[in-house]
């Protein structure tokens, strides 16, 4: 078995940003320019003389998690472009032109990172997933998942960061503290995210020419030239709720993370 040791280098994380792997996101704020109709008031009389269309700026808080952007954040953080990181109240503010994220150090037993990384040996592809910087099977053997706080990011597979309080479709927040306190519909999430369990539908390789996944060696055979996608699927209550993927191009050996 070709078991890879975790290092930030293989994931392309620049050294200055490695500390963010131990952070979780608290919130995200986006600038929102909008054309609004504003009154024009005559100062002397206090009367409205007309209205004007004016571009105004306000911000919108998008909570700790916004689907579809986590990986983009991660991609930019990996390469260290397009963002500035500054300390903020014991955490950090990650500033982008369109807004900012606030992250904080993770608490004990709180998920902060899960990464996928694949290697290949001719036509054999090895599937390496790191949870909290450990090879996933090692992590799961030594850490019962149910003990961890899993405000789990749907896009967390190759993301740094960062967070994981879910905002459900109604805009309400779901924070995973203990199953007893969760909204009922989300409780199965804890059970379904079981990487170690080969029969679990939550994580698996679903797109490959010859999947044939070997649970023992965490590897599978493929034909030369094909593209492999490792897809993470979370399926609480049997319905696919989210998926995320990374891709390995066997021709170039290039690993692409979904952005």
């Amino acid at each position: 078995m070709n078991k890879v040791e975790y290092s930030p280098d293989i994931l392309g994380i620049i050294p200055e940003n490695v500390f963010l792997e131990d952070c979780v996101m608290v919130s995200r704020m986006n600038y929102k320019p909008e054309i609004l109709t504003v009154p024009v008031i005559e100062s002397s009389s206090g009367r409205v003389v007309r209205t004007e269309k004016k571009q105004c700026l306000w911000m919108e808080q998008l909570g700790a998690q916004s689907l579809g952007t986590d990986l983009l954040l991660s991609g930019e953080l990996r390469s260290g472009v397009n963002c500035e990181i500054e300390p903020f109240n014991g955490g950090y503010k990650i500033k982008f032109p369109t807004g900012y994220y606030v992250v904080r150090p993770r608490k004990e037993k709180e998920f902060s990172s899960i990464h996928s990384y694949m290697t290949k040996d001719e036509t054999k592809v090895y599937n390496n997933i790191f949870i909290q910087k450990m090879f996933y099977s090692d992590f799961l053997l030594t850490n019962p998942l149910s003990q961890w706080r899993m405000p789990f990011s749907p896009e967390s597979m190759s993301s740094f960061a960062v967070s994981w309080q879910m905002i459900d479709a109604n805009g309400g927040k779901w924070e995973c503290v203990s199953p007893a306190l969760q909204k009922p519909a989300y409780t199965p999430r804890l059970k379904h995210f079981a990487i170690l369990d080969a029969s679990a539908s939550s994580v698996g390789i679903v797109q490959a020419n010859a999947p044939g996944y070997d649970v023992g060696s965490h590897s599978f055979q493929v034909t030369p030239g094909c593209k492999i996608r490792l897809v993470f699927i979370n399926s609480p209550l049997g319905a696919k709720e989210w998926e995320s993927w990374s891709e390995l191009d066997l021709d170039s050996g290039e690993i692409k993370f979904k952005l």
Partner: protein, 155 residues
């Protein structure tokens, strides 16, 4: 019922079992004078802690830069009637023993009372109880209204 006790860097909040608590700012406008629409932090716990210090363990974190007024509004059902109770708190002055100080207690009547911030000819009407929701539309409406007020033109 809602009860808040400052304790060091934390504010400990206790509410009646079955309540949901929403925490937000009273006047949603940042240090750069930009209004913002926020998702009220919500907690279903009957006892939890709040702080703005991101490096200590707490249940809810405030991310606002200002020393603006914060509020926590608990809501529950009494029969078929929705009830509210809240507190307003802010950061304590430097040198204080605790990081937060509770400045006002809001019984149900105060939570549902309409309040007005009038600027020029525009009026921002709002209630504390409107913060107690999982829908951001009220917060967006208010941010937009404050943006209009801040951009009112005087000639």
């Amino acid at each position: 019922m809602i009860k808040a006790t400052p304790k060091g860097d934390l504010l400990e909040i206790e509410v009646s079992p079955g309540s949901t608590t929403y925490i937000g700012v009273v006047f949603p406008c940042g240090s750069d004078n930009i209004p913002f629409a926020q998702i009220p932090e919500s907690s279903v716990r009957s006892k939890f802690t709040v702080t703005d210090r991101l490096d200590i363990a707490a249940d809810e974190y405030l991310i606002h830069e200002e020393n603006q007024g914060f509020c926590a509004i608990a809501t529950w059902l009494e029969g078929a009637v929705r009830k509210y109770a809240g507190i307003v708190f802010s950061k304590a002055p430097q040198g204080s023993e605790n990081r937060f100080v509770v400045t006002e207690e809001l019984p149900h009547e105060a939570c549902v009372l309409w309040r007005q911030n009038k600027v020029g000819v525009t009026v921002d009407n709002w209630r504390f109880s409107d913060l107690a929701n999982v829908n951001k539309s009220e917060e967006i409406r208010r941010a937009r209204m404050i943006a209009v007020q801040k951009n009112t033109v005087y000639i």
